[in-house]
Structures are given as C-alpha cells and as structure tokens.
Amino acid sequence: MTALTAVRHLLWKDLVLELRTREILTAMTIFAMLVAVVFNFAFSPSPADSLRLLPGMLWVTLAFASTLGLSRSFVLERDQQCLEALRLLPWDPGLIYAGKFLSNLLYLLAVEALLLPALAAIAGVRLLPAGGALIGVLLLGSVGLVAVGTLFSAMSVHTRIREVLLPVLLFPLASPVLINGTRATLGILGGWPWADILPGVRLLVAFDVIFVVVGYLVFEYVVEE
C-alpha cells in the first residue's frame, strides 16, 4: 500500500463521519451565510462600492467560517483517543496531517461554492467574467488557510479553550493569506493588469508550499505526548 492510498483511506474515514453527522459543514455554511447577510445590512453597498467591498467580505467570512470547521476537525480524533490510534499506524504521522488537511480543504471549498454566488448576488457583482482566475485565487488562499489551521487545530485540540486559542494562533499567521487573497480578488474583479495581481498570487503560492511542507514535517512533534 502506498502513502497516497493511506491518505485516501484517512480522507474516506473523515468524509463518511462528516456525511453522517454534517456537524462541520452545517456549522460552517450557516455561519458563512449569516456573516454575508450581516455584512450586506451593515454596509448596504452601492453597485460601485460592491466591487470594492466584496473581496474583504469574502475573505473575512471565510477566515471566520474556517475556524469553526478547523476547531472541530480534531475533536473527532480526541474522543476515545483516536488520534493516538492513528499514531500507532505504520505510517509517517505526517500522513495524518495530509488526510486532515485534505478533508478540511474540501469542507472549506464546499462552503466557498455556496458563499461566493450568494455574496455576489447580495452585492450585485457578476463573477462569471473573472471565474477561472477567481477560483484559482480562492483555491490558493484556502490551501494556505487550511495548512496553518490544521496544524494549529491539532495543537489546540487538547486544550480547554481551543475555540479561542485556534483563531488567536491562526489569524496572525494566516494574515498574509487574507491580505494577499483580498488584494488578488480585488484585482481580478476590478480588472487590474496581471502585473499588479501576480505578486500577491506568488506570495500565496509560497505561503502554501511552506506551510504544507512545515505542517507535514512537524505534525509528529505536535501530536506527540
């Protein structure tokens, strides 16, 4: 069996558990939609403002919604010490990180698939002309957010204040993702020249590579007793 097959089985387990309970997806989706609606009432953006405000509304909503899912993702493993059982498996513990990273990423992407059209409808912004580039930036930003968040979720799962600790740890470190994600989204929707958008995109790529690799490598020490 290859490491990829092991990750696939880990992902299968997470998805079956989530599809049965829908705890994470339901909480993330409802929260994201509520924040989007609140933003709309709070700002009541004019058509001209919408383009300027939507990227910030989108990324702030995703950041908050992601912490809801991330904080729950290792709770399943904490019950009955299943994380310890995973550490007993004859695999590099980094694969546990990889499996969790993928399931968390899928949850966030699913929320984005619902949130983005909803926000666009609320703000009256047409997304289709920028569709491909926007999806690319969202994917890059989501990878970074989830890469850091999965690691901190594992770190905070055994603490009593994990719901507080996770955002406190996550947001400062993930701020390059939020800033560059917002800027790139703004550039894409505003029709900026690619030369102005690409530096932010490059930063997102670098962030993703660094934190996915760091997460994989240090996970063993994060979950060690």
């Binding site: 069996m1 309970t21 010490q81 299943c82 059982a85 007993l88």
Partner: protein
C-alpha cells in the same frame, strides 16, 4: 525476588532501565522487562503504578525520559513506522470512531495496516468477538462490553506479533471475559503479549510470567508455571502493602 526474562529465543520486546518523568512526577523508575517471542507477561499493580505509561512506551507512543526500548532487537526511535506494524494495543480508550459502524472501524484499521482482503478480515474478527450481528450498527449504539470487544478486535486486525493489553477485561461481562480469556489462551505461544490487569486471577490464567509494578518500579517478577493465584495474591499484597 525472582528475576526471569523472556524465555523465547528471540526477545520480542526489551525495556531496559526505563524512566519516565512528567514534570516533577516520576511515573517509571528504572523499569527493566523483557518478553520473549510467544511469551505472555501479566503486569499487576495498583492505580498510578505506571502500567499504562509502560505500555505506551512499549507501543512507541511515548518516548522514555531515559532507558532503551528494543522491539525485536530494533530501536523504535529510528524505525518506528515499520515496528508499529508489529504492535497491537488495547488501551483504556476504545480507539473507535463512534460515528462509524463496527465493521467500518475494523475495515478502516485493516486498510490502514494494508491487510490483504480487509473486508474478509473485518468480518472474521467481528465473528471472533461475537459481534457479527451488530457489525452494521454505529459504535455509539454499543454497550461498554461490546465496545471493548470491538476494541480488542481492532487491535488484532493486522495480526500483530506483539500484543499490548491495558486492562482488557474492563467492561466485559463474565461470559465475554471468559471468551476473551480463551482467545488469549489460544494466542499464547503465537505472539508476545503484555497484559496489565487488576484481576490477578485472569492475569495469572493467561500468562507465562508475572510482574508487579509499584510506584513506577518492578517490585516482583517471576515465572508463572504453576498458575498459582494464591501465591501471586500474597506477594501482591506484600508489595502493595495491603492485607491479602
């Protein structure tokens, strides 16, 4: 005090001078124990004696503060993933996902260990522990005893060469305890077993050797050829300092 060591020609597990500290608390103090291939060792001791810590170190889940661990002669700090394949552990916690069925739990574990024909293995183990009729039910609907039986099946799914059992009789009713005891007796000689339990009767019945752990140190270790429960109970009482 007697001193005996793993009688199998190969030492499945060798713990030498193991100490483990949690801050100022010393959970293990220079514990040395060996278990031969095919040998069963029962470890008794009061709560807080260090039995669980000892098993976690043996299972490579925890690093000792000092001392050496050897699994079939190999150092787990260098080859942990490969050596973990040889170990099965039944812990205080079930290691089971409440949101998966009994069958799915075993299937997932079997797949993660790369067991050939994982489905057949999961079905066979459900049969072995008497849960085939409930294999399709979510684990959260299981009783404590059923969960414990499934947990035992989970530890056996990859046919480990070293089986570590942390109070496995807990939660089992008399019938299930007898069935598990028979299962352990059937496995004797085929793999190394370390069993911690408060039940001296059960531990003596299934082991080749017994050890008593008190305050993180081995207070007694002896062969168990005669299966003499009374003697072990008397020695235990002396070691722990309570009337027999």
């Amino acid at each position: 005090m007697h001193s005996a060591h793993g009688r199998g020609s190969v030492q499945a597990l060798a713990l030498q001078e193991i100490t483990k500290c949690f801050g100022p608390v010393q959970a293990l103090r220079g514990v040395s124990l060996t278990v031969g291939d095919g040998e069963a060792l029962a470890v008794f001791g009061p709560n807080g004696a260090g039995k669980t810590t000892l098993l976690k170190i043996a299972a490579t889940l925890m690093r000792p503060t000092s001392g050496t661990v050897r699994i079939l002669g190999a150092d787990p700090s260098h080859q942990a993933p490969q050596l973990r394949r040889l170990i099965g552990l039944v812990s205080h916690q079930s290691y089971l996902y409440a949101g998966l069925t009994g069958f799915e739990n075993l299937l997932f574990t079997a797949r993660m260990y790369g067991v050939p024909d994982a489905r057949a293995r999961a079905h066979a183990l459900l049969e072995t522990v008497g849960l085939s009729h409930r294999g399709g039910d979510l684990v959260r609907t299981y009783s404590r005893g059923m969960t414990q039986r499934l947990s035992i099946a989970r530890a056996l799914v990859h046919d480990p060469r070293i089986l570590l059992l942390d109070e496995p009789f807990t939660g089992l009713d008399r019938q299930a305890a007898m069935a598990f005891r028979d299962l352990l007796l059937a496995m004797r000689g085929t793999r190394a077993i370390i069993l911690t339990t408060h039940s001296i009767e059960q531990g003596v019945a299934v082991s080749d050797r017994v050890a008593i752990l008190v305050d993180g140190a081995v207070a007694y270790e002896a062969e168990n050829g005669a299966r003499d429960v009374g003697t072990v109970e008397r020695v235990y009482a002396q070691c722990v300092g309570v009337p027999a």
